[in-house]
Every structure is written in structure tokens, then in C-alpha cells.
Amino acid sequence: MASDPQSTANQRIVEDLVSRLRRRQLVGSRATALETLLVLRQVVSKARFSNIDQLVNVIRIVGRRLVEAQPKEHSVGNTVRKVLHHIREEYHTASERPTVQSSFSIAKFVLQGQPRKQTPIPRSETRVPLKENDPDDPDSFARVLKPVLMEAIQDVFDELETVYDNISKNAKDHIHSDEIILTLGMSRTVQSFLKSAAHYRNYTVIVAETAPSYGGREMAASLSSAGISTFLVPDSSIYALMSRVNKVILGAHAILANGGMFATSGSLLAATAARSYSTPVVVCAGQFKLTPLWNLYHEYGALDFGDPSAVLGFEEGDLVDKVDVVNPYYDYVRPELLDVFITNYGDHPPSSIYRLLKETYDDEDNEL
């Protein structure tokens, strides 16, 4: 494969993304998902294959490399899985075999009566019969299939582009007038959700600043500039203020198969405090964050740690040698603490996440 000039070109794009992921130059679940998709589109468009297994194999190899580069960015793997799922679906349609996808889908069920913005456009019908492993013309299979695959990838792309709009379009049904909302950290999803609700409702947001990244400060500045009455509080006062909070709205880093999630550290504190006051906890997240993984064994979030100097800087010089400083990036929040996930595919309780996962990805891709 290395001898093939086209695959070396592919390799270069892949290598580029791998190193950017590894160096953490590219962070954030949506940004990584978009970049992954761009790479996959390139890979598919240049790949040479004469049957579906070869194509799936190529994508898997690329996917595995990307995931290994940054296993904490779950949306990379999710995007690869999603693309694989779409490719198989297109292949089955094209080869006119009975589709494996069940006719009943919980996502469709939830969305009934409120159709998605981009209704699936009927694909350019390829009536040319698909012939796998054609000895006379090994490229014919790829030639026929590629246009549909490109369209399928474009669909995933469009979905990612519009994910914030689609999540926040029902914001006014979740936030009501004069409510007090608590949120924390900086999440683009939550930000657009709250801003969209502000068009219809007059409400107050309390933002916990989320040390040591203090993403909450950025969030508070952005929300207040959109005209929302905003209060910025230290993390320590979450519990004291919780008795007046009507709803806690959190962002997620990854939604796990059991309905739990990885989220900015501090989320678990807020969710636990919310439960002790029976305050509902709402999570806003795009569907690309659905991850077919489980975390039942450790509390250290996703076992990802940040820079300790943000917690205890070198200005405390004499302490630095003597003290261990811990700065985890993420919390693992158990499904019992969450009430609903608001996704671009509708609102789902944590208990139906497993079902969504089954529909979104193929089982054989859980391990790339």
C-alpha cells in the first residue's frame, strides 16, 4: 500500500491530523469530528477498492490510527463509526439487498411530527448493477459506489455543521420565563442553546466559573453580551445557590453507552448538588458525542489530566516540590444523575441511549 502513490497522499493527510491530535493542537469534540470527516472524505475519494470489505478495511485502518493518536477525543472514533455505518447502508441500498436497518427507530419515533430540517434527499439512483471483484474492470465497483458514498459523507458533514441549530431549536420548550438556570464551563452547545432560548424567554443564568480553566468566565461574558441576565459565581457556591436554581444545563464531552457521560470537571459536583435539591439536570450534546463505550470502573473521569500549574503556579515556589497537584479534565457523571439528553436527534432519557447507539453505529465497529 505504501508503494501506491494515492495511498501515500492519503497517508500524508492522515499523518497531519494524527500529529495535530497528538499535540493537542486540535481539541474539542466538534472540531475533531469535522477534521476527521474531512480526512475520511479524502480517503474515500482516493481509495482504490473493488469490493466493500476493502473499503471498510481502509477506513478502519485510518480510523484506528486517528483514535490511537488521541483516545480521549471520542468523537474521532464516533465519526469513523458513523461513516462506516453510512457506507454499509449505501452499499446495501445500491446492491439492492434487504436493508439491515430495522424499520423502527427510536430517533425517528421521537422526532415524529417534527421532521428534520434536511429531509433525506433521494440519492442519485444508480441503476447500474454493482459488480464486486470484477476481474475485467476492478475499478467499476468503486466508480459506481463513490458518488453515493460522497453524498452520504456530505450528509454527515451537514449534520455536524447544523448541530448547534438543531439542538437549540427547541430551547424555548425547555427554558421558561423567569427561570434560574445553572451552567458551568464553556460549551458551545449550551451557549447556543441558552442564546436561542433568550429570543423567547426572559430568564437568569448562573455560571460557575469552573476552576482552573475558568471557562465559565468566557461563557458568562458571551451569554451576558447576548442580553441574558448572567451571574458569575465561584464553583464553591454551587450548593448554596442550588436551592434557587430551576434547572441545571450541562454540556458533555462524550455520552457513554450506559447513559452516563464525560463532561468538564465540576459537572459531577453540580449534578450531585442538583440531585440533593431534586433539580432537573439537562445535558445538551450533539449526536456525534454518542460513544459506544462504558465507564464503570474508575472515577478519574476519562483519566485525562491537565496542567497542574493552573492550580498551583510557580509563584508558590516552595510548595511545588512538596505537594502533589491534581487537575483532571473530565468528570464521569452517572446516568442516575441525569434527566435528559437534548440532541440534534430529539430529546432522550439516559435509559434510551443504548438504543440510539445501536441505530447510529454498527455493532462490529465498536472496536475499531
Binding site: 423567569d178 434560574i180 426572559n202 430568564y203 437568569t204 448562573i206 466559573e209 469552573t210 476552576a211 482552573p212 475558568y214 468566565r217 458568562a220 461574558a221 451576558s224 453580551s225 442580553g227 441574558i228 441576565s229 448572567t230 451571574f231 458569575l232 459565581v233 465561584p234 464553583d235 464553591s236 457556591s237 454551587i238 450548593y239 448554596a240 445557590l241 436551592s243 434557587r244 468538564t264 470537571s265 465540576g266 459531577l268 459536583l269 450531585t272 448538588a273 440533593s276 472515577e299 478519574y300 473521569g301 492550580v311 498551583l312 508558590e316 516552595d318 510548595l319 512538596k322 505537594v323 502533589d324 497537584v325 491534581v326 487537575n327 483532571p328 468528570d331 464521569y332
Partner: protein, 417 residues
């Protein structure tokens, strides 16, 4: 003996209320820039100012409110609503408050130390207040045709008021002052003045010794027994008592490590960390901010917390964040020991940390873009931990459940049964 203390309390409350009224004009002036200039000028004249402090001030704040309400309230309704929810917190006290009436220099100095947070913490503030009162009492001369037992309190009242304008009174100070009033009103009329003053100072010394210093030592002994070799002790922010317990345990050659959890606005845990890390051999310490707590609580074997005050329904009023530490510890079945002297007990109930709270002064606030009128930084200093999250309260009378405070007769500032 009980009667004076009962009659003293409502007066105390009335004073608090008056004080709140007194704060109101300042609070409202913040919103109304045009008046900011006028007000300090007013403050230079003691007479109108004192009138504002008295009960006649009812009119003054309403006038100002009407003035401020027009342009501010109507143009920006979400903000005024936000202000209304949090209005009872008042504004963070600004240092350098004015002096009203005949205030002793020791109290002026103390007031500044309070408002600048140089003296911070329930024990430190109580000891500092009582020590300053000793100076005030020694410098006091009973005016002719008056007796010390009747007049001294009227001399002390403005001093107390001054301290309260610097920072809201702590429960510990309240309990100690109530006890002091009791002693003053009970002092013998026939005693020569100097002897009576010496007797009062002696009583104050005794109070500090018995209720705080000796009590702390007893609590140290009790709490140290609960720290075993190999334990990981988790604590939040800095309590002077917890610090003493940890240092004592370390000096007894117990091998344990400490996790210090900390949070803005005050970041007091760093002070604790400094004193723990400077021991020889250094105590193994881990330091993290509050959001990292869920990752660390699983390692902890015991949680030691301090308190500002403990209320009749068992809820603990303490540094903001304590409630979340206790809540998470309970969730992970880690015992939570609250270290608290009995003089911190209060006979009031506290249902949540929102009703009564105090805001940190602006110097602890993060930089907030001033141009943005919708954004406000709020830094509550305290929260209230429900009794269900506390395993045991370590007091000088033993380890008790948090709900059984009322059964301790020595509590609530009474020394007699």
C-alpha cells in the same frame, strides 16, 4: 440570670436591622452613578448621617430607591429581577468605611482588619474582638451619676455596631458578646470601678481560654484519635482547628497524608498547605481545586471540616464549598467529622445557604468587563451543609451527632445550666 440574655437579644436584632437599613442607601447608590458623588460628602457630617442610621431613615432609602428605580429598573427588567433575588445578600462591604460616633481606636483598627480580611475566620475574629473589648473596657471611665453595670453596655454598643458595619457579625462574636453583656449587667455595683473592670477583663480571658483555647485542645485530642496510620485525610479550605489537629497528629508521628481541596474566592487552602508542607518531615500533601474533588474523594479515609457555626437543626454554616465536600463524602461513604467548639452553636435554624449569606469583597472578584450591564460577579462566602451529610461533630464535650446540639447545655453561649 437568663432574663438579661433574653432581653438583650431582641435589641441585638433590632440593631442588625437598623444596620441593614443603613447599608441600603449605599447599595442603591451603586446603581445610580449620579448620586455617588453626593453621598460621601454627606458622610462627612456626623449629624445627618446619624439621623440616617436611626429609625427615621425609613424615608431616606425609599426616596433614593424611587430615584434609582426609574432609569435603572424599567429599562432593564431581567437585571433588576436578578438583583431582587440576590438583594438580601447586600453588597460586599467596601473597606475604609466611615467612623460614626465615639469609636475606640482599637475597634477602628479591628474594623479595618475585618473588612480587609486580614483577620478572618470565626475563632480569630472572636478572639480579636474580645481582646479589643478588653482595651475598650480598661479605657472606659464611668460618667458621673451612672453605674458601670448600667452604662458600659451603652458605651460598647456603638463599638459593636462599628465592627458589624465592617463585616457582618459572626455567630461566635454574637455568642461572646451576649456572654459579655451578661457579665456586665451582673457586675457588682459596690465594686470600685477599676476592680470591676479588672474582673470583666478576667472574665473575658476566661471565656477565651475555656471556650476556645482549651476547647480546641480537647477537640484536638479527640480528633487525633480518629486519624490512623496510613489514613488519607481530606479537608476543605482552611480551618484553624483542622490545621491544629493535622499538625498535632503529625507531631505524634502518625503516618498519614492530607488532601487539601480549595476554591475561589478566598483560596484559603494555600495557607493551610504552606503550614502543612513546612513541617519536618514534610506531611505528604495533595492539592486540588473543588471541581477535581470527585476524583480524589475515593482516596480519602476521613474528611475533617471546620465550621463557622452550627445551628439548632443540625445544619452547618461554613465556608462556601464545604457542603459539596460533605455531600460527596457521604455519597462515597467516607466519614465526615466536623470540628467545632460549643461556643459556635447557635439556637437559630438554617434551612439553606441562600437565606443568610455574605459576599466576598470586590478584591476577590474576577475581572468582569464593566461595559456589560447584564453580567455580575457574585461571591458568596458561606454555605449550609445539611445535618444528614455530617457523621459526627467533634466538640470539647465529645463526639456528638449534629442534631443533638440543643441537648448540650453549655452550648448557645450559656455558661450556667
Amino acid at each position: 440570670m437568663r432574663m438579661p440574655s433574653l432581653s438583650a437579644k431582641p435589641k441585638n436584632e433590632r440593631k442588625d436591622e437598623r444596620d441593614r437599613n443603613n447599608n441600603e442607601p449605599r447599595k442603591l447608590h451603586r446603581n445610580n452613578n449620579s448620586r455617588v458623588r453626593e453621598y460621601p460628602a454627606l458622610q462627612d457630617h456626623p449629624l445627618p448621617n446619624r439621623r440616617a442610621a436611626a429609625s427615621t431613615s425609613k424615608d431616606a432609602p425609599t426616596n433614593i430607591r424611587d430615584g434609582a428605580g426609574g432609569p435603572d429598573g424599567s429599562s432593564d427588567s431581567p437585571k433588576s429581577r436578578g438583583l431582587r433575588i440576590f438583594s438580601h445578600f447586600g453588597l460586599p462591604k467596601t473597606p475604609g468605611h466611615q467612623i460614626k460616633g465615639d469609636i475606640h481606636p482599637a475597634i477602628v483598627k479591628l474594623g479595618l482588619q475585618f473588612s480587609e480580611f486580614k483577620i478572618c475566620g470565626a475563632n480569630a475574629r472572636c478572639i480579636a474582638t474580645l481582646t479589643a473589648f478588653k482595651t475598650v473596657i480598661q479605657d472606659y471611665v464611668t460618667p458621673p451619676h451612672n453605674t458601670l453595670s448600667r452604662h458600659l453596655m451603652t458605651h460598647l454598643s456603638p463599638q459593636i455596631t462599628h465592627l458589624v458595619t465592617a463585616r457582618p457579625m459572626s455567630v461566635t462574636m454574637g455568642n461572646a458578646i451576649r456572654q459579655l453583656k451578661l457579665e456586665i449587667s451582673g457586675s457588682d455595683i459596690d465594686l470600685p470601678e477599676q476592680d470591676a473592670k479588672d474582673a470583666l477583663c478576667h472574665k473575658i480571658d476566661e471565656y477565651i481560654r475555656d471556650r476556645i483555647i482549651i476547647a480546641d485542645e480537647v477537640i484536638e485530642d479527640l480528633a487525633v484519635k480518629k486519624i490512623k496510620d496510613g489514613d488519607v485525610v481530606l479537608t476543605y479550605a482552611r480551618s484553624s482547628l483542622v490545621e491544629k489537629i493535622l499538625l498535632r497528629a503529625h507531631s505524634l508521628d502518625k503516618r498519614f497524608s492530607v488532601i487539601v481541596i480549595d476554591s475561589r474566592p478566598l483560596l484559603e487552602g494555600k495557607t493551610l498547605l504552606h503550614s502543612l508542607a513546612s513541617t519536618v518531615p514534610p506531611l505528604p500533601c495533595t492539592y486540588a481545586l473543588l471541581p477535581a474533588l470527585p476524583s480524589l474523594i475515593i482516596d480519602a479515609d476521613i474528611v475533617l471540616l471546620g465550621a463557622h457555626s452550627l445551628h439548632a437543626n443540625g445544619s452547618v454554616y461554613s465556608r462556601a464549598g464545604t457542603a459539596m465536600v460533605a455531600m460527596l463524602a457521604k455519597e462515597h461513604s467516607v466519614p465526615v467529622m466536623l470540628c467545632c467548639e460549643t461556643y459556635k452553636f447557635s439556637d437559630t435554624v438554617m434551612l439553606d445557604g441562600f437565606g443568610k449569606n455574605e459576599l466576598a469583597p470586590t478584591k476577590f472578584s474576577p475581572e468582569v468587563p464593566k461595559s456589560n450591564s447584564n453580567l455580575e460577579a457574585l461571591n458568596p462566602l458561606y454555605d449550609s451543609t445539611p445535618a444528614s451529610c455530617i457523621t459526627a461533630v467533634v466538640t470539647e464535650v465529645g463526639l456528638i451527632p449534629p442534631t443533638s446540639i440543643s441537648s448540650i447545655p453549655l452550648a448557645l453561649g450559656r455558661t450556667t445550666l
